[in-house]
């Protein structure tokens, strides 16, 4: 069966659809310039579960669950559901932690960086430049034989675990279980965590994007990486479509407000916007995908990608508990130190994880 979404037109259509849906999710209630943000939404999930107690960012985001489950069903239908794992899971877990810390110093994953720019937030330019710089460093490692080793096929009956976790989270959202007085599940009553599109709309959007992205292999990190590594403009044409169509939809909906100051869920520290995303971009390359792509891969049965995603959720807990995540006021006390520690970790991994045979 020919995969119509894997071609140039396919990736552009998918990027455009994601851009329009993201802007519409904002219109329906998601936080400004945050129609979809994989990092922020995983952070909200961590908060809802009580892994951190920042009371403005706690919600079980159905978009994330939809991404994984949508990709799961798309992969099964296409015969691409292949449980696999075993490629340096612990390293991937820590890459996930540091990727999240970097993203939360900037305040967004690459998807949100694009959506912030599409909403007029000039600070996103620094984030995107930082992202590109981090990816550039990662590409140098790739050219020198960087590898986390092979993954191996796992039993068919093991790839469902991560999708099932997502279904479980969705049930917790629907039934709003309270596990103890003043205990989890936490739902923000103020701040970005309290802003959400209706559950059904978010879920359907997530499922649709999950399926489309699985078929098209949409990846924001891969987009920049392929341009630098092999001058391939396939994926970046999808990313460009996302940016343009989110921008146009924002114009139509009156959601475009250009400037640097007072942008929603953003700060104006050029240096830490840049370096936060440098860390995130480098960690994404070393792990082989942007946060969204890692979720779609998890849906296909890639358990290494699922480990990375879990690392991001745990990393969000650390980021807020240990004063590393930024706020609109600017970087937090330990954010800069955490970014530097993360960069050192990623450089060590980049230099030491090499496959001689493939170099």
């Amino acid at each position: 069966m020919r995969n119509i979404f894997a071609g140039r037109i396919g990736i552009i259509v998918v990027g455009a659809v994601i851009g329009v849906i993201a802007a519409l999710l904002q219109y329906f209630g998601n936080p400004p310039n945050m129609g979809i943000c994989v990092a922020c939404f995983e952070r909200d999930i961590a908060g809802a579960l009580g892994l951190h107690r920042a009371d403005v960012v706690q919600y079980l985001r159905p978009e994330i669950m939809g991404f994984v489950v949508g990709a799961f069903f798309a992969a099964i239908l296409a015969g691409e559901y292949k449980p696999r794992g075993g490629s340096s899971p612990l390293i991937r877990f820590f890459l996930g932690i540091f990727a999240m810390i970097g993203a939360l110093v900037f305040l967004g994953c690459p998807w949100r960086a694009l959506l912030r720019l599409a909403g007029g937030d000039g600070n996103a330019i620094l984030g995107i430049l930082g992202l590109a710089f981090g990816i550039f460093i990662g590409v140098l490692f790739l050219k020198n034989g960087y590898s986390l080793g092979r993954s191996y096929a796992q039993r068919k009956a093991s790839g469902w675990i991560f999708p099932a976790l997502m279904v479980g989270l969705f049930l917790l959202l629907i039934f709003r279980v309270s596990f103890s007085p003043n205990g989890p599940i936490f739902f923000s009553v103020k701040g970005p965590g309290s802003m959400a599109a209706p559950v059904l709309i978010s879920l359907i959007a997530g499922l649709g994007i999950g399926a489309l992205a699985q078929r098209s292999r949409f990846c924001t990190m891969g987009a920049f990486r392929d341009v630098m590594l092999i001058k391939d403009f396939h994926l970046i044409s999808g990313v460009a479509a996302l940016l343009v169509f989110a921008f146009l939809t924002n114009l139509v909906l009156g959601q475009f407000h250009p400037g640097f100051e007072k942008q929603p869920v953003a700060h104006t520290s050029f240096v830490w916007n840049f370096l936060g995303m440098t860390l995130a971009g480098l960690a994404f390359v070393l792990a082989g995908g942007c946060p969204g792509r890692q979720l779609f891969l998890s849906g296909e049965g890639d358990m290494d990608a699922a480990i990375f995603a879990l690392g991001m959720i745990v990393g969000a807990g650390f980021a807020h508990n240990f004063a590393m995540a930024s706020s609109p006021a600017g970087p937090a006390a330990f954010g800069p130190a955490a970014v530097i520690a993360g960069l050192i970790f990623c450089l060590v991994i980049g230099f030491t994880q090499r496959d001689r045979a493939s170099a």
């Binding site: 590898s147 290494d304 493939s358």
Partner: protein, 71 residues
């Protein structure tokens, strides 16, 4: 001429592409690239075609072999 065989099974994106690009740059045009998933097959093929090579596929057990050659 025998084809150079590259085992790219189980490697994360984009390592299969990096291996193939290095081989092509080193002058190996006839390649047999062993991959175990559709994405790697698509990516390797796209690169080979970009480098002006022709690709054909065959199944080998559960794996896919992408063969590249000059027209």
């Amino acid at each position: 001429m025998t084809a150079k065989r590259i085992d790219a099974r189980g490697l994360s994106c984009p390592q299969p592409v990096v291996l193939v690009d290095k081989a092509i740059a080193a002058g190996d045009i006839n390649l047999e690239v062993l991959v175990d998933n559709e994405v790697a097959k698509e990516n390797v093929s796209r690169l080979a075609q970009k480098r002006g090579l022709k690709t054909i596929y065959r199944q080998e057990g559960l794996d896919i072999v992408v063969e590249t050659s000059k027209d």
